[in-house]
């Protein structure tokens, strides 16, 4: 492989050695893992951090006076500091640990939504949204007799800022938009949308699940009022995610779930609530997963998100040009600004059959509706096949995908 001087390529072979799973075989072939948009793999450093936590540091947090509880609390809160720094949040109290993106959005929909939405109000989303940034709003809008307004996309999967902005009206109370589409890879002009929404005093929630590994997120510079993501999309464990919220919003919001840790004093007649961030962290949290997420963020920062993004872009360009040469492949979602996600169909072959044949060759892709059924309907397909790349994938793996698709075509078209 030739490395040009100006190319921002990473030492991929060294990086791959950090990921034990990338060394395994699947169906007798070396694993080619191209389902990173669903879940990214964990490097050894994160796995070891989880083992160390469970082996030597585990106890419940915020409760005991004993040494282990203090160490566990220290590790958990250090992870919060790492997240704060990763997002460049102003304050650590603005970082709430949740089970993931889905729970973070449900928290905002239930707490902020139930407090602020009245009959006739509108929540504005887009056609790109994952069910996680659609269904919670649909539920709360139904409950509050509010209206869900959906900004349309272009046929190539682009979301134009003006198509969102012109739908912000006197009844709009919140804009909730994805940063990068999980199904198509479209990068949304989120900054422009936030500026326009703020000009009318409307807060914006950004679904960053697909963005955090692929673009540098600075919530202060971006101006997002809420920013949410999941740990497992950026090489951390499952069961942990983050709700970032500006303090002014979080302070004004009532708790969502009640229980331990979120209280200050409890009597049978009344409860006073804890301060941020604990007000929104009822019950024992996923302590180990939070600690693992912190380690994953440090690992990524050591490599550098900008370098990751630049390298992924070379993979995207290479894979897109290879797939575009296959006459039996149709790319779905060709927005000018994209992350390394390629949705496609093999003509006349159901995506599940594409996925099964590729799997026989050790190639893992996603086939289905990508938890975005309304988007699939908009694009006129029941489902797509999706290959999603990240910094440990190689140019050779792009070529392995092409060989796999050739086999699909020979089987079904031959």
């Amino acid at each position: 492989m030739s490395i040009s001087v100006t190319s921002p390529l990473l030492p991929v072979e060294l990086i791959r050695a950090d990921f034990p799973i990338l060394g395994r075989q699947v169906n007798g072939n070396p694993l080619v893992y191209l389902d990173n948009a669903a879940s990214a793999q964990m490097p050894q450093r994160v796995i070891e951090r989880l083992v160390r936590y469970h082996s030597f540091e585990h106890a419940n947090v915020h409760r005991g006076v004993h040494t282990l509880s203090q160490e566990a609390t220290g590790a958990y809160e250090a992870a919060r500091d790492t997240v704060k720094q990763f997002l460049n949040a102003a304050e650590r109290e603005e970082i709430i640990f949740t089970r993931g993106t889905t729970e973070a959005i449900n928290l905002v929909a239930n707490s902020w939504g139930r407090t602020n939405l009245r009959a006739g109000d509108e929540v504005l989303i887009s056609e790109l949204e994952h069910h996680a940034n659609l269904v919670p709003w649909q539920m709360i809008c139904k409950e509050r007799d509010a209206k869900l307004v959906v900004a349309p996309i272009q046929d190539d999967g682009s979301l134009l800022a003006r198509d969102v902005i012109e739908r912000i009206g006197p009844n709009t109370r919140l804009v909730a938009i994805t940063h990068i589409s999980n199904a198509l890879g479209t990068i949304v002009p989120i900054r422009e949308i936030i500026v326009a929404a703020h000009a009318q005093g409307i807060p914006v929630l950004v679904d960053g699940a697909q963005a955090v590994l692929h673009t540098r997120v600075d919530v202060q510079s971006l101006g997002a009022d809420f920013y949410v993501f999941s740990g497992h999309k950026l090489c951390g464990p499952t069961g942990i995610g983050v709700l970032y919220g500006k303090r002014q919003f979080l302070e004004a919001m009532p708790p969502w779930q009640g229980g331990g840790d979120m209280i200050r004093t409890v009597s049978f007649s009344q409860t006073t609530y804890n301060d941020l961030p604990y007000k929104f962290e009822a019950g024992t949290p996923s302590i180990a997963a939070a600690v693992g997420l912190g380690e994953a963020l440090r690992y990524l920062q050591d490599i550098g998100i900008e370098r990751i993004a630049a390298y992924e872009n070379t993979l995207l360009t290479h894979a897109t040009s290879l797939l575009a040469e296959l006459p039996y492949v149709r790319l779905i979602g060709t927005a000018p600004q994209k992350a390394a996600v390629i949705s496609f169909e093999v003509k006349g072959v159901h995506p599940h059959d594409v996925g099964s044949v590729l799997d026989a060759g050790g190639i893992a892709i996603r086939a289905g509706h990508h938890c975005a059924q309304p988007l699939m309907k908009r694009l006129g397909v029941p489902a797509t096949a999706r290959a999603s790349f990240t910094f440990y994938n190689t140019l050779e793996e792009c070529e392995a995908l092409v060989r796999g698709l050739t086999a699909v075509s020979e089987l079904f078209h031959g």
């Binding site: 169906n27 007798g28 072939n29 669903a38 994952h130 069910h131 996680a132 072959v349 159901h350 995506p351 599940h352 059959d353 099964s356 044949v357 026989a360 060759g361 050790g362 086939a367 289905g368 509706h369 990508h370 938890c371 029941p382 489902a383 060989r403 796999g404 086999a407 089987l411 079904f412």
Partner: protein
């Protein structure tokens, strides 16, 4: 690469490419719509019964190769059969796709059209694709207008489902 032929064998590929009994039975006495909401497989089954036997059966729909081949092969296997035999076939098909080939009836033991689907047993996420037409046939015979692979009528509870 490992051959995908264990799953996509010649019989399945051929029935996918040229499905038999595709279309609608005009004077159907029984019909049902089958849907797998997780992957979008969607078929419509129409049949004409007389004297406790299936005289005519056809299917239409949009689905993956496994589902389409399964529907096509099913129609060829149940046409002209008594309801009693059809019920045994449905049961035996389920045994094959869930890897319990030892339990199939002597009547259908060695039926290569059923055996063609034995590779599915290793792929739990695809079992429902294969079962959907048979599940829909059962619904049609019971007078149910629709059936789904999800919910209380799940034909293969606990088998794999596509992740979000």
């Amino acid at each position: 690469m490992t051959s995908p032929n264990a799953l996509y064998n010649q019989l399945i590929l051929e029935h996918n490419k040229k499905p038999r009994n595709y279309g609608k039975v005009a004077d159907a006495t029984h019909h049902s719509e089958g849907l797998n909401p997780l992957c979008g497989d969607h078929i419509w089954l129409t049949a004409r019964l007389s004297q406790d036997a299936i005289d005519e059966i056809r299917f239409e729909g949009q689905s993956c190769a496994i589902c389409q081949a399964s529907a096509s092969i099913m129609t060829t296997q149940v046409k002209g059969k008594s309801i009693e035999s059809v019920k045994t076939l449905v049961q035996d098909f389920r045994q094959v796709v869930t890897g319990q080939t030892d339990s199939i009836s002597s009547e259908n033991n060695g039926n290569r059209y059923l055996q063609a689907f034995s590779g599915i047993a290793n792929l739990p996420a695809r079992v429902k694709c294969a079962v959907l037409p048979w599940h829909t046939l059962q619904a049609a015979l019971s007078g149910e207008a629709s059936s789904s692979t999800e919910g209380s009528g799940d034909p293969v509870p606990g088998s794999g489902s596509p992740a979000p």
